[in-house]
Amino acid sequence: MNAVFKRPDNLKDTNTHFCPGCTHGIAHRLIAEAMDELGIADRTIGIPGVGCCVFLYNYFPIDVLEAPHGRAPACATGMKRAQPDRVIFAYQGDGDMAAIGTSEIIHAANRGENITVFFVNNSVYGMTGGQMAPTTLLGQQTTTSPYGRDFKSEGYPIKMAEMLATLEGVAYSTRVALHSPKHVNQAKKAIRKAFEMQINEMGFSMVEMLSTCNTNWRVSPLDALKMLEREMIPYYPLGVFKERTGKDFL
């Protein structure tokens, strides 16, 4: 009898702080699996943002730098320029990337920094109790949009993967989802590809992962998966928005 599925080597054997049903847990495991398969953990440095993502250093047994809110792509820039042969990744949530950190992510992407950024989009600010994020859907009720997001005063949700894909420096920009086995397997492939882009020095790579936050959406974990499919995917289409195949920018 063989183990055909075990905890990846690079995911610590510990309980996590994530809520029951939080797909951050799946995202973490997929990243650990990719580090295992590519054999890169010894030379990888992770940079979480601030939010539920901050405790990344409790889960990956790798070197980790804790960055200020929104600034992980800038820290990753400094680190990659200092150590071009290491694999540097940032791991951010909605506030980190799409709100406070929009300047840093756009410019790191625009410069084509050879880093990888993972974006967990669950349409709210999780850690702080479910406030409206730039990625909150129209009509979605949150603690700071109690009447439902109204485009007249709060604007429309931001599509980060599409927006970054318009920048020349971006080698890979994709959106995946974590709400079903088929989608989780696709997400795994995207995460591996993003790391490979960095290893092959192709430029900036980003994987946006549609995720659930059942606690702040005020639904059960299973209902949250259904909500993701029913409400997030129509607005945030899955797919690859940019994929550089050759080093055509050189």
Binding site: M1, N2, A3, V4, F5, K6, R7, P8, L11, N15, T16, F18, C19, P20, G21, C22, T23, H24, G25, I26, R29, S180, P181, V184, N185, P221, L222, L225
Partner: protein, 69 residues
């Protein structure tokens, strides 16, 4: 035959594994675990029906499931 092992005290009772198991051979345990959840439990009596498809483990946010084949 194929089977799974669920770490009771890692499970947070999200029940993704139960939802997605194609053979419906995972159930909710009647006893709570050390962290206060009623964890998912492999139905041992239905062990031969497990195909080792790994769907449960793939969906588990807590990496609480190991699959053997």
């Amino acid at each position: 035959m194929a089977h799974i092992v669920i770490d009771r005290d890692r499970c947070k009772g999200c029940y993704f594994c139960i939802e997605f198991c194609p053979r419906n051979i995972i159930k909710i345990s009647g006893e709570h675990n050390r962290i206060g959840y009623f964890p998912a439990e492999f139905v041992e009596e239905e062990r031969e029906r497990c195909t080792g498809c790994k769907t449960c483990a793939v969906m588990c946010p807590d990496t609480a499931i190991e699959v053997y084949k």
